[in-house]
Symmetry: C2
Subunit: 219 residues, 2 copies
DNA sequence: CGGAAGTCGTTAAAGATTTCACATACTTCA
DNA sequence: TGAAGTATGTGAAATCTTTAACGACTTCCG
């Protein structure tokens, strides 16, 4: 496998799944070629940034032509490991957890929520979105070799569950609780803090007024 | 009002709500003072970054002492406009929309979802999490002067609804759909793309192995 | 009261990311 | 075939962000 491809910048890495998705759309639409400019319009990322991002992987395009959609797509499919499915566990089948289970990130995706856990006896044993809900007491026993977890428990339970996940050998946690959890340095946590996202948007609206001439930016 | 406080960096602005929340926690716990180091441990942001962030607002702390929790909190309350509630509309009362309505970002927050819209006649007229659901046809009529919208409709409907929101005078959209919507330059859109967040986490896990000695980072 | 310990605010350095701008090479079409 | 057009890949510059380091001042405690 392509080990150590001389470190892609993090900012680039975060955009890769986005590129991949739009490339997929183009492919489905039957498009054969695409320029960085077109892609830029679609994903709202500066075209120079896109070219730079792609260039980290070598020369994927052709001057005067652009990029071959099929080739680019198959390249990213490999790069993003789209062929092997990553199995995911979800902890906390409440409002948010239920939404995720019903959605299950199914479309053009290499991840699948395979098992869910909850502390509420009424939920345990049921199925949500085709995923069975187990009791949190059985976490260690039933997690198996799943290495990624989505955390949607009440924030008061977050650190405790995180500790247990770490003990059970998890590698990555997508944390939706407002709690900033502590984990050993070999475990990766991404926080998605929805309340903060909303507050930040409100703050930007009040303090960074956009002019009729500026271009809006995301995230 | 504190107009033009000589532009806070965006990276700092995004952390303010996080600081505010933890300050609030400390205050509730009865803590009187806090150092940048303590805060750093709690929010997982480097202490130098925290001091730098605070310094954009002037000298809020005292050398050798730290920060007075009450003072800092009340300062941020003003800065983040925590006293005036921002009214928010939610479009698309499906899996995700329902979760948000039930949650409603109630705790220590200056935002409130006041009205929801959906196209499904069965949902219209009902209440979810105490918020009435209106028909999407009545969007323009019932939106009033609400300036922020959360978009949780199917991605195929996203651009169309966004256009209508813009026409109805919206200023900011928190977009949860995978569609990258186009809006005039005076409207701000923040994308929260959950599928991409999950894929990015998986990518990082495979390609950026963490060593036992490194410290994990978020987002 | 005085010295040790603690902590800020900031200068400066380092690091990361974006953007510009253009030489280069391919495509297209007459 | 050759001229005009197009769009990449990248060096260099600009911008933004983080981190280290430390002087200045405060608190703490014997
Ligand atoms: N719902 C939202 O829109 C929203 C928005 C922002 C943040 N969040 C955060 O996401 C998290 C979940 O929110 P929610 O609205 O889904 O809450 P919820 O109360 O609806 O769901 C939490 C679920 O976790 C289960 N649970 C509780 N303790 C547990 C434990 N120890 N082990 C396993 N399961 C346990 C509960 O039985 C419940 O089903 C919370 O931390 C919340 O702050 C939610
Ligand atoms: N649920 C998730 O976990 C999840 C995860 C990632 C992304 N998303 C994205 O979030 C969006 C919503 O997801 P969901 O799972 O809640 O979908 P959903 O199908 O459960 O909900 C969509 C809702 O929008 C309503 N709707 C459809 N067309 C409308 C229109 N024109 N105007 C107003 N309302 C309309 C539907 O009646 C439905 O209630 C989708 O774009 C999805 O891709 C969802």
């Amino acid at each position: 496998m392509d080990i150590e491809q001389t470190k892609i910048p993090q900012a680039t890495a975060k955009r890769l799944p986005l590129y991949y998705r739009f490339l997929n759309n183009l492919h489905t639409q039957g498009k054969l070629r695409v320029s960085s400019k077109e892609l830029s319009d679609a994903v709202k990322v500066d075209s120079a940034t896109i070219r730079r991002d792609f260039s980290y992987f070598g020369a994927l395009g052709k001057k005067g032509y652009g990029y071959n959609v099929e080739y680019l797509l198959s390249f990213f499919r490999k790069t993003l490991d789209q062929d092997e499915t990553t199995r995911v566990a979800l902890i906390g089948v409440g409002n948010l957890g239920t939404a995720f289970l019903n959605y299950n990130f199914t479309k053009n995706n290499n991840t699948k929520i395979e098992i869910a856990f909850d502390a509420n006896d009424e939920r345990v044993g049921s199925e949500v979105g085709g995923v069975g809900v187990e009791h949190i007491n059985d976490l260690e026993e039933k997690l198996g070799d799943i290495s990624v977890a989505i955390l949607t428990v009440p924030s008061s339970a977050a650190q405790g569950i995180a500790d247990r996940l770490v003990n059970a050998g998890i590698s990555g946690i997508l944390n939706f609780t407002p709690a900033r959890i502590s984990v050993p340095s070999n475990v990766r946590v991404h926080h998605i803090d929805l309340a903060i996202e909303l507050q930040a948007l409100v703050y930007f609206l009040k303090h960074y007024p956009l002019n009729e001439g500026e271009v809006e930016e995301d995230q």
